[in-house]
Amino acid sequence: MRDITLGQYINGDSPIHRLDPRVRLILTLVYIIILFSFKSILQMILALVFILIAYAIVKIPLKMLLKSLKPIIPIVLFTSILNMFFISGDVVFSFWKISVTKQGLYYAALMSLRVICLLAGSSLLTYTSTPIELTGALESLFKPLTKLGFPVNDLAMMMTIALRFIPTLLEETDKIMAAQKSRGANLDTGKLFERIKALTPILIPLFVSAFRRADELALAMECRCYNGGEGRTRLNELRLKRSDLKATLVFCLFCVLLVLAGKI
């Protein structure tokens, strides 16, 4: 359970960690849009170089990035192979009925690079932002919607609580699994139906404890007079700094570079 690196936060003190989470969120979104709107391989390589530089700034070991890329290797391979064989154009080489075309190879490389950049980019966001920062950023960005009667505050609180309890519930699952394994529960082998049945001793205690925790949390919040999100202030107010402006400028430069690269 603990081997999941995608979506994990890595504590650090890099310039990217110190950015306003809203800036981080928006730049990541723009980066993803860019990935899908540009179509030349040179642009994709530039995008990859850009994200690798960002990883170097954050000082996240390359090993970790590779580990988080591992689960998508089959997808990358699958799309590459499909592209390679089924796009018609100038034949490079062929055997039996299958022929590999120049255009096919090009699109295969493009798609793989795009998927890799996509994952690396979104991972960078979660590596450098705590879940609390992200909900804070979302809340602040959606704030205008309160005027339309949309409960942004409540939604943000719900998200914060949900995210806060993911590690707790994972830990709880680990503990319950350990306890049931100690009593000889067989979770790894058997037919599909048996395996589903084997989950009962884990799911029931997990639900019981989730309800217990929810009860306790509700009580604790009421004890501290929580009564909805209206008019609440945050512990860490989000404020744009000079460094945020600089980061945005660097990113804009990168965008210009990409557009120029597309003209070549």
């Binding site: 603990r2 890595i10 504590n11 650090g12 996240i60 070991p61 090993k63 970790m64 709880e172 503990k175 319950i176 350990a178 306890a179 049931q180 394994k181 100690s182 009593r183 000889g184 529960a185 067989n186 009962t200 001793p201 029931i204 205690p205 019981v208 404890s209």
Partner: protein, 287 residues
């Protein structure tokens, strides 16, 4: 009967990551057959990690764990059999209860062992007997019990598997004094009657001094002392320096000694402490 032997065992969380943390390192020791071992140490000293390696719940990142001279990780298909030899009661075991009735919950372990229905029934009665669970209570839902009853029901679930080695991680945490005493008596009783090995993790030195014959002191993931109760508590002043508790009576005797009243300090039972204090008082009165 089973003997657990650890050779240079170490465990590091998040190995290779920026936030890696070594929980246990270079632990080499043997848990003798039929002994009652008390494991003590600070929170975060690696006790819980260590005991989870004893039945193969976590794989050591260094060294090996042997049960009856067989490396438990040499053949992972046999790992489950090893788990039946070493029964592990984790912290707050009541969170593992899941069945409709206490009886069915206790039957979970024995059923996984593949025993016959009669044998399972026999095991339930035996385990319930040890833990003072009445036949009426066995038919109730485990979620309707009191905290102490839940704890006892959960321990019964492990005991019903008749493990050769019973490992308990702070089985008395969060219970009232009577609940604590009841559970410790149950463990002691099981140890005496069945002569099985007991490994008890505890924060209470008084409990360890009272029930264990061997003490394992863990400090920052390493073995600080592993010896008989007498030998370990001879180092009481060192233990106190590392911030660990020592038996209350030993603590009193050490303090008396510091205040200039000559008493024996290698003592950890109330009876012997009373003797040495009486002797000291007699001496003082004569002067």
């Amino acid at each position: 009967m089973s003997v657990i032997r650890l050779e240079n065992v170490g465990f590091t969380y998040q190995k290779g990551m920026p936030d890696e943390k070594t929980a246990v390192s270079e632990v080499s020791l043997t848990f003798k057959e039929g002994s009652f071992v008390g494991v003590i140490g600070h929170t975060g000293s690696g006790k819980s990690t260590l005991i989870q390696m004893l039945n193969g719940l976590i794989k050591p990142t260094a060294g090996s764990v042997f049960i009856d001279d067989e490396d438990i990780w040499s053949d992972t298909s046999k790992l489950r059999d090893k788990r039946f030899k070493v029964g592990l009661v984790l912290q707050y075991p009541e969170y593992q209860l899941f069945e409709e009735t206490v009886k069915k919950d206790i039957a979970f372990g024995p059923r996984n062992l593949g025993l016959s229905e009669e044998e399972i029934e026999e095991r339930i009665i035996e385990a319930a007997g040890y833990l003072h669970l009445s036949p009426e209570l066995l038919e109730r839902s485990p979620f309707d019990l009191s905290g102490g009853e839940k704890r006892r029901a959960a321990i019964a679930g492990v005991l019903a598997m008749r493990p050769d080695v019973l490992v308990l991680d702070e089985p008395t945490a969060g219970l009232d004094p009577k609940g604590r005493k009841d559970i410790l008596e149950v463990i002691d009783n099981y140890h005496r009657k069945e002569n099985k090995t007991i490994i008890l993790v505890s924060h209470s030195m008084d409990d360890v001094a009272r029930y264990a014959d061997t003490v394992l002191v863990m400090n920052s993931g390493k073995v600080m002392y592993y010896d008989t109760v007498e030998e370990v508590f001879k180092h009481s002043s060192e233990l106190r320096e590392t911030g660990l508790n020592i038996p209350t009576v030993t603590d009193i005797l050490l303090t008396l000694n510091e205040r200039g009243i000559g008493v024996d300090t290698d003592i950890y039972t109330v009876e012997k402490a009373a003797d040495t204090i009486t002797a000291a008082v007699k001496r003082e009165v004569h002067i």
